[in-house]
């Protein structure tokens, strides 16, 4: 099988380039793209990428496989390879540190901006802040995000304005706390999102939904935030 890998070592290379490597796949056994990378690394130990859990939990091995963002560890090679060919690139739009490793600072700066933690100005109760099962159910489809960055780096609006548009991952988390019955800072949270960029740069293309390896739907969360903003503002 032909694998074409994005290679860039800023200390040595003038410019990034795609380098072809070939590899024999074992018969009758499905490999994940991460397995493939591990084998390629045996061929060329200088190949760099991030990984940790190898089971779709940590979110560290988001890469671009034949044009589609996803987690290398849970993406079967057969699902992304086309006619025996596979091109592996770093997540698009972010600065490349080396090979498939990108600098996620812009992504996490936007995440921090939405204050992704519970804010509650009431005195804490003796034991815990309770939620009804219905209130808890509001957080389904929101809390599962593993911050892999696949969605935001597939989003054109995030490519154009990564410093001002919060991006799908950050907005999903913004809504996660807006929807939390225990959070008392909704009004402030909404005020922080009301400018022309933070939320309203979303053009509803749904690239984010298309790639999320956890099957989450940031576009729906963004729609809900818009709805809350309209209700608060009118």
């Amino acid at each position: 099988m032909q694998v074409s890998v994005y290679r860039y070592d800023p200390d040595v290379d003038e410019a990034p380039q795609m380098r072809d490597m070939s590899i024999d796949l074992p018969e009758g056994k499905e490999l994940m793209v991460l397995d493939l990378l591990e084998r390629l690394k045996e061929q060329d130990p200088s190949l760099s990428y991030r990984r940790s859990c190898r089971e779709g939990v940590c979110g560290s091995d988001g890469i671009n496989m034949n044009g589609l963002n996803g987690l290398a560890c849970i993406t079967p090679v057969s699902q992304v390879a086309k006619r025996g060919k596979l091109a592996l690139r770093p997540l698009p739009g972010l600065p490349v540190i080396r090979d498939l490793v990108v600098d996620m600072s812009q992504f996490f700066d936007q995440f921090e901006k939405v204050r992704p933690y519970l804010i509650n100005d009431q005195p804490p109760p003796a034991q815990e802040r309770l939620q009804s099962p219905e209130e808890r159910a509001e957080l389904d489809g929101l809390y599962e995000c593993i911050l892999c960055g696949c969605c935001s780096t597939a989003c054109p609006s995030f490519w154009w304005n990564p410093d001002k548009f919060v991006g799908p991952a950050g907005l999903l988390q913004a809504y996660r706390f807006l929807a939390d019955s225990r959070d008392t800072a909704s009004a402030e949270r909404l005020r922080d999102l009301e400018d022309p960029f933070s939320v309203f740069r979303c053009r509803g293309i749904m690239n984010c939904v298309n790639v999320c390896p956890k099957g989450l739907n940031p576009t729906r969360a963004i729609g809900k935030i818009r709805g809350l903003l309209v209700r608060q503002g009118t």
Binding site: S157, W160, E194, D195, F200, R226, V230, G233, T234
Partner: protein
Amino acid sequence: MTQVTSLARSGLADFLIQRLSAVVLALYTLCLLSFFLVNDGLDHRQLVEFFGSASMRAFSVLAVLSTAAHGWVGLWTVGTDYIRPHYFGARAVVLRMAYQVGCALLLFIYVWWGIRLFWMLPG
């Protein structure tokens, strides 16, 4: 980056303006469409009568204003998406200003011409 040139300086207000103007334009289109479909073989006098009525004048002017508002929000967004230092370096700010002035001028001419056209119809 400058947000001063955004129509309402608030994403929410821009968003609402864009939706509202879209509704006005859709209704205006429907109104014209049904007029032309129902009336076959119109002559000049009938047209002047239709567009010269007080309500159609007001509606037409509203449609022209909606076009300008809708256009401005959209064009401003396109400009701030694509005319950025990332692609154009230090020239981006000047280029974007030129682009925005160009768009504003164009839309202003549309509005001025549209209002003249519809408001000053002989009727």
